[in-house]
Amino acid sequence: MRIRTFAAAVALTLIPAAGWSCPACMVGDSKTASTYLGMTLIMSALPLLLIGGLGYWFWRRQP
C-alpha cells in the first residue's frame, strides 16, 4: 500500500497540470503563473537593488 501511494505521488510530480489545484493559487492559468513569477522576481530583486544602490552611493561619495 505504501509503495503504491509513493508511486502515485511520484507519478503526480510528472503531471504539472495537477499542480494547478493548489488552494493558494486560486486560478490555475498562465496569467496567474506569470503574475506570481513577476512578483517573485520583483520582491527578490528589490532589496538587492536598494542595498546595492545605497552601497554604490556610499562608494561614489567616499573621499
Binding site: V27, T32, T35, M39, I42, L46, L54
Partner: protein, 200 residues
C-alpha cells in the same frame, strides 16, 4: 589621560571637500527608513497585483463595486507632483534667496494639504457608494494601500510644517530639512506608482 582632557581636546577637522561629502546621520537614517518603506509598499502592491490577477472571472473591480475616480485622482496626482517640484525649487533657493525659498516650501506644504484633503473627499464619496474595507478585496486593498500612503503624507506634511516654522524662526538645520525632503520625495514618487497599479 584624565577625563578632563578628553573633553578639552580639539575636534579633528576634516578637509573641506571631505566634510562636504559626509552624509548627516539624520539623512542616512531617513534613507534607510525609506528603503524599508519601499519594501513595505512593494509587499502591499505585490499582494494587490496577485489578488487582481487571480480574481475569479477575471473582472476587476469585482461586479457591483464602484469604480474608482480615475480623472479626479489624476488631477490630485498632478497636485502632489507639483508639491515635489516646489519643494525641490525651494531647496535650490535656500542658500541664496531664503525668503523666496520659504515661500516655495510653504506652497509645497499647501499642495500636500490639498492632496490629502481631496483624498478625504474621494474616500467619503466612495464610502457612500458602498466601497468599504469589508465590501470586497477591491475595497480592502484600496483603503489599505491608499490609506497607508495618506498616513505617510500626513506625517510628512507635519514634519515639513515643523521644519518650515523652525526655518521661519531662524533655526535652519540643513540636515533636518534634507531628511524631511527625502521623506516627502518618497511620498511624492510613490503615489504615481500606486495610482497606476490601483486606479488604472
Amino acid at each position: 589621560m584624565s577625563s578632563q582632557s578628553i573633553f578639552t581636546e580639539p575636534r579633528i577637522a576634516l578637509p573641506a571637500e571631505n566634510s562636504a561629502k559626509r552624509v548627516p546621520n539624520s539623512v542616512l537614517g531617513m534613507i534607510i527608513f525609506v528603503a524599508t518603506e519601499i519594501m513595505f509598499f512593494a509587499a502591499l502592491m505585490s499582494a494587490h497585483t496577485i489578488a487582481k490577477a487571480t480574481v475569479l472571472g477575471g473582472v476587476w473591480p469585482p461586479p457591483g463595486q464602484p469604480r474608482l475616480p480615475v480623472e479626479r485622482t489624476a488631477i490630485n496626482t498632478a497636485i502632489l507632483l507639483l508639491s515635489g517640484i516646489l519643494l525641490w525649487i525651494g531647496n535650490r533657493r535656500m542658500s541664496t534667496k531664503r525668503e523666496s525659498a520659504l515661500r516655495y516650501v510653504a506652497a509645497a506644504i499647501l499642495c500636500g494639504i490639498a492632496f490629502v484633503s481631496l483624498q478625504g473627499v474621494e474616500w467619503v464619496a466612495l464610502l457612500r457608494e458602498g466601497l468599504t474595507m469589508t465590501s470586497s478585496n477591491h475595497g480592502a486593498f484600496f483603503y489599505l494601500i491608499v490609506g497607508t500612503h495618506a498616513l505617510h503624507a500626513i506625517v510628512a506634511i507635519v514634519a515639513l510644517t515643523w521644519v518650515y516654522l523652525r526655518m521661519r524662526g531662524g533655526k535652519f538645520v540643513p540636515s533636518t530639512f534634507t531628511a524631511t525632503q527625502v521623506f516627502w520625495y518618497f511620498v511624492v514618487v510613490l503615489w504615481p506608482v500606486i495610482y497606476l497599479r490601483v486606479y488604472l
